[in-house]
């Protein structure tokens, strides 16, 4: 009983280790036919996710699978395949999971268009608030005698503050911490 539990614990530990991230970045030398290929390679290994690691790209992983995939990508670049072909090759085997930049389709529509739409909505609401504010500003307000008195006192205050344009400007600036 004890021993079987011990074995189970070991197996559990090992399966956890299986997923341990390779935190160290891959540092390796590679030769290409030209600088353009080298740049494409750097770009691709930065944009593609290592399928075994917790969250790192192929460039940033020491995992054996990341090394294999980097070699595969290099091989395909040298064979003259386009970036899209190389991405397709990996997506076919590992799914869209390997793309850090998700492709645009029905499932990622909200992801790509949500933020811009939200910005537009925010600015639209802002516009409406401004319009509402302006309307309130024009609306006449009835004041009773007491309120009128308070208003006059208040106005005196504000006009004193506004006597010099510059001082009020300074005040405004100072208050914007």
């Amino acid at each position: 009983m004890r021993i079987s539990m011990l074995i189970k614990a070991c197996v559990l530990l090992l399966s956890v280790m299986w997923l341990t991230p390779a935190a160290a970045a891959a540092i390796e030398e590679l030769n290409f036919d030209n600088d353009e290929q080298k740049a494409r390679y750097s770009e691709l290994i930065a944009e593609l996710r290592c399928p075994k690691c917790l969250n790192s790209n192929l460039a940033g992983s020491d995992a054996p699978i990341a090394a294999d995939l980097r070699a595969k990508i290099r091989e395909q670049i040298l064979a003259g395949n386009s970036d899209r072909e190389i991405e397709d090759y990996l997506v076919e085997r590992y799914g869209e999971f390997v793309l850090y930049k998700p492709r645009l389709h029905a499932g990622t529509f909200a992801l790509w268009f949500g933020p811009p739409l939200l910005l537009l909505a925010g600015l639209f609401i802002l516009r409406r608030m401004l319009a509402a504010s302006r309307q309130t500003a024009v609306a006449p307000v009835d004041l009773n005698a007491q309120e009128q008195q308070q208003l006059n006192a208040l106005l005196k205050d504000t006009s004193a503050g506004n006597s010099s344009d510059n001082s009020s400007d300074k005040k405004a600036g100072t208050d914007n911490g």
Binding site: I7, L14, W18, P51, P64, D68, V91, Y94, G95, F97
Partner: protein, 180 residues
């Protein structure tokens, strides 16, 4: 919508997110999905582990139920899983066990199988990991279940033990056997 109702938008949004997070707690984010499930086996032709001159191709994995296990002597969980594979290979006679020796030294692999028993009918040597990539393998051990039509029905990542076998493989096998 009235202004009062608008104030409820944040709390409503929060509860939707909470539901999502609750769902997320039940999932295992470490698992890598397989793009190959329910797709035909990839086309391949790789050397036989025990006979470097012979090759094994995907054509040989047709017309029956196949269990393809990707393993390596360098992989500690594979060592842990090995006795159980030997055990079920003796029990499940209608399944052909196929070993893919992944990113390994052939000599070490042969020694390992001689010492601890060989559950595999076919032994493929994938010393450069290229077949692994075609199978969408991210590490070892990984195990694929292939039905008689040559379609990959399931991919298991990690160690196979009794619990995994009974909970996931047996129901699938029952279904495959029924439809055959």
């Amino acid at each position: 919508m009235s202004n009062r109702a608008k104030l409820f938008i944040p709390v409503a949004f929060f509860f939707v997110m909470l539901g999502l997070l609750f769902y997320g707690l039940g999932q295992n984010p470490g698992e890598v999905p397989s793009a190959l499930v329910n797709r035909p086996l990839p086309v391949f032709e790789e050397p036989d582990l025990f006979d470097a001159t012979a090759t094994i191709s995907n054509e040989q994995l047709k017309g029956g139920i196949f269990l393809v296990n990707v393993w390596g002597t360098w992989c500690a969980p594979c060592h842990a899983e090995h006795p159980y594979l030997v055990e079920i290979s003796e029990r499940e006679k209608d399944i052909t066990f196929v070993g893919v020796n992944y990113n390994d030294v052939a000599e070490d692999a042969r020694e390992f199988l001689a010492e601890r028993g060989n559950p595999f009918k076919l032994n493929i040597s994938d010393d450069d990991g290229s077949l692994g990539i075609d199978f969408g393998v991210a590490g070892a051990p990984e195990t694929f279940l292939i039905d008689a039509t040559g379609t990959i029905r399931y991919k298991h990542v990690g160690v196979i033990d009794n619990r995994v076998w009974e909970d996931t493989f047996e129901p699938l096998l029952a279904e495959i056997r029924r439809t055959q």
